[in-house]
């Protein structure tokens, strides 16, 4: 696939430290519009940290991250407006338990975009339909299964019409039988052309929909490749070890 | 500031120990004595009430529940008046304010302590009692040897907090002329007349130093106990810790 357009997200020499510990080491990479990037690697490799720097849930100490041409970590940025343009799906869903499913989805549009409640609710129903949960519109998160909650979380992120969706290990906290329903939604988003950056262990998902795989280890971006090549013939030693460890399970 | 120091110099001993040794004990010494007596005598009663509350027999449960509700719903002042009126009737002769206050505190604190003990016991992992019964221990033995020792250890911070509450409650003894530190301060104020702020400031400072140190002790113990009993016991301390049990029984 040819991505000749300007990249949507760029990382330039991004580094982050927790005190003495270097969590990210000079990461440089691009995510193009319409591209699906899967970030994988052993635990502690910094993949979650990396994705969280994009919407500034984590700060960086050096380097720069640009979104649509603008420096994300500049002090002049309106952080709330910026975050409303980046959809983020958490590993532990983080739905708001005191609000119904519809209210969860409507919270952003009504309070940040100042949309009218009726419009927001219609849109919420459309999105719930898209993730297959239209019947649960007035249910509460506590009444839903993990897979259902995560799908609602995806709908909540989509409600702001973001140009890019970030997924931080979206299926890691789910029971095995529910992983499929969430991956299904993510695959359909990818097929519809959404720009996505996913941290995940689901290698089949990567093989099916990813345009590129970023392999991280100990805070560095070790290898970037097309899925077919990465999974069959990884060029780096560490990637080879990681993939063989995965296969032995 | 000078006036405060002067008052401390002239009336310091009165506030601390009353007229002792030239007269009856008073002041802070009496406050501490009342609190210690009140809490230590209330404690066994509180444990018995907690067990009664948890027992399967209605005739044991209901009186315990009733007493707890009454203690929580009726002001301590009313309690003091009731005891002041009833005890002489019961034993046929007049009693000192001190005795009245001790009896009041014992009843009042027993009710609150029973709630603390009850949550401590209920917070113990069920497996403990099950293992003890499986070995063949009777209910009483299980309580005595397995449940209560552990529950009571976990409750120590909450007990220290209750001690702080008791100390604050002794201040109400002035209404029946119990010669504790608040009463002593009131006497000093009426003889000085012109420095009420200084006198009551000193009084507040005395209570603050005493109660704050004890509260800090309770927090320290809570930290120690939580870290010593990690994992499955965390829930017990959390249920019973001073931060969840209010130290404001009668403020």
């Amino acid at each position: 696939m040819n991505f000749s357009k300007k990249p949507l997200i760029t990382f330039r020499d991004v580094s982050k430290w927790y005190g003495e510990y270097r969590a990210l080491s000079s990461i440089s990479a691009d995510v193009h519009k319409g591209e699906v990037v899967v970030v994988c690697g052993p635990s502690g490799s910094g993949k979650s940290t990396l994705i969280r720097t994009v919407n500034r849930l984590e700060e960086i100490q050096s380097g720069a991250i640009h979104f649509d041409g603008k420096d994300v970590h500049a002090s002049s940025v309106d952080i709330n407006k910026f975050r409303s343009q980046v959809g983020f799906v958490f590993q532990s869903f983080n739905l708001f338990p005191h609000l119904s499913v519809a209210q969860n989805i409507m919270l952003g549009p009504v309070n940040v975009r100042k949309q009218r409640r009726a419009e927001a609710r219609t849109r919420a129903l459309e999105l719930l339909d898209r993730v297959g949960l239209a019947s649960k519109v007035d249910a509460f998160p506590g009444q839903l299964s993990g897979g259902q909650q995560q799908r609602v979380a995806i709908a909540r992120a989509l409600a702001m019409d973001p140009p890019v969706m970030l997924f931080d290990e979206p299926t890691s906290a789910l029971d095995p039988e529910m992983v499929g329903e969430v991956l299904q939604v993510m695959k359909s988003l990818a097929r519809d052309g959404m720009t996505m950056m996913c941290v995940t262990h689901e290698m089949n998902f990567a093989r099916e929909v990813a345009n590129r795989v970023w392999f991280m280890d100990q805070g560095s971006l070790v290898e970037v490749g097309v899925p077919d090549e990465f999974f069959s013939k990884p060029t780096s030693e560490r990637a080879r070890k990681f993939l063989s460890d995965l296969r032995t399970h | 500031m000078d006036s405060i120091l002067l008052i401390l110099r002239d009336y310091g001993t009165l506030l601390l120990v009353g007229q002792y040794p030239n007269g009856p004990l008073g002041g802070l010494a009496v406050t501490l004595l009342l609190s210690l007596l009140g809490l230590t005598l209330a404690f066994p009663i509180g444990v018995v009430m907690a067990l009664a509350r948890l027992s399967p027999f209605r005739w044991l449960r209901w009186p315990a529940i009733a007493l707890v509700y009454v203690a929580r719903g009726v002001p301590l002042l009313m309690f003091i008046f009731w005891v002041y009126f009833f005890v002489p009737l019961l034993i046929g002769r007049t009693v000192t304010g001190f005795t009245t206050m001790v009896v009041t505190l014992v009843i009042y604190q027993a009710a609150y302590l029973s709630e603390i003990v009850r949550s401590g016991i209920e917070g113990m992992p069920k497996g403990q009692a099950e293992a003890a019964r499986a070995l063949g221990l009777s209910y009483i033995q299980t309580m005595r040897r397995v449940i209560l020792p552990q529950a009571l250890y976990n409750m120590i911070p909450a007990l220290v907090s209750q001690f702080v509450s008791t100390i604050k409650e002794t201040s109400l003894g002035y209404v029946i002329s119990v010669n504790e530190v608040t009463f002593a301060a009131m006497q000093i104020n009426s003889s000085l007349m012109t420095q009420p702020f200084q006198v009551y400031f000193i009084l507040a400072a005395i209570y603050f130093c005493l109660c704050f140190s004890l509260t800090q002790l309770a927090r320290f113990l809570e930290g120690r106990i939580t870290s010593r009993r990690e994992g499955s016991r965390q829930s017990v301390v959390a249920v019973v810790s001073p931060s969840t049990t209010t130290t404001a029984t009668a403020a």
């Binding site: 338990p97 | 719903g73 009420p196 702020f197 209570y207 209010t246």
Partner: protein, 232 residues
């Protein structure tokens, strides 16, 4: 002493009026102090949650003072102590304007505000950071996230504690009698000393206190049920 209970004594002369006035004053004290405690307590909790160091220290000192000094002593300090520090014309104005009631509810309200702020603080602390993160990730500002996501959940968690503090406040209004406020306990003592029917008047007051305490507790249980976060 006459061992037969005779409640009709309480209906004689001015006694019913004293009792009624006592009950009304008790309610007025409770309401005034409660409003003060809730408003101030919330502000203190929010101040403590902010990142301003001075604010955190000031609130901590406020809370420690009010929780470690008996409320009775706080009342005395306000009623006897503070006015003595004010210039004479102020003192005269205060004395002419029913100062005991005002100072009593101020003392009680300030004291309970400390407890309320601790209760709210506990509630807020028990909300996982991830809730705030998720709210910010959608683009809500800090204040919006606090108002729409954190505080509603924190209030639900703190509700039982706040209800029990309300009952405590209600009981503590009896302390106002120490500075001559004619609330229920004061009226009880007056009637006892005049009529010598100790048991009857004590019983009546006890029942009134107990009754209203239970009403408050029941209201609390009702609110907890109504606002419970629904789960399977």
């Amino acid at each position: 002493m006459d061992h037969r209970l005779d409640f009709s004594v309480l209906l004689r002369g001015d006694y019913p009026k004293w009792i009624l006035d006592g009950v009304i004053t008790m309610f007025e004290l409770t309401l005034a102090a409660w409003l003060l405690a809730m408003a101030l307590g919330t502000m203190l909790a929010v101040a403590r949650m902010s990142n301003v160091r001075i604010a955190k220290i000031a609130v901590a000192i406020y809370v420690e003072y009010h929780q470690n000094v008996p409320m009775l002593v706080q009342v005395f300090l306000w009623y006897f102590g503070i006015p003595a520090l004010l210039p004479l014309p102020w003192q005269q104005w205060i004395n002419a304007h029913n100062s005991a009631f005002v100072l009593a509810f101020i003392a009680a309200g300030l004291c309970m505000a400390a407890y309320v702020s601790e209760g709210l603080r506990g509630g807020i602390r028990s909300i996982p950071k991830s809730q705030l993160e998720a709210a910010r990730a959608i683009g809500l500002s800090y204040l919006q996230a606090a108002r729409l996501v954190v505080v509603p959940q924190a209030l639900r968690i703190a509700l039982p504690t706040l209800v029990s503090y309300t009952v405590l406040l209600f009981k503590n209004t009896s302390l106002a009698m120490a500075i001559g406020v004619a609330e229920l306990t004061y009226a009880t003592r007056e009637i006892e000393s005049q009529s010598f029917r100790t048991v009857e008047i004590y019983l009546l007051s006890t029942v009134i206190y107990l009754g209203f305490s239970m009403v408050i507790m029941k209201a609390g249980t009702f609110l907890e049920g109504r606002y419970r976060i629904r789960a399977r």
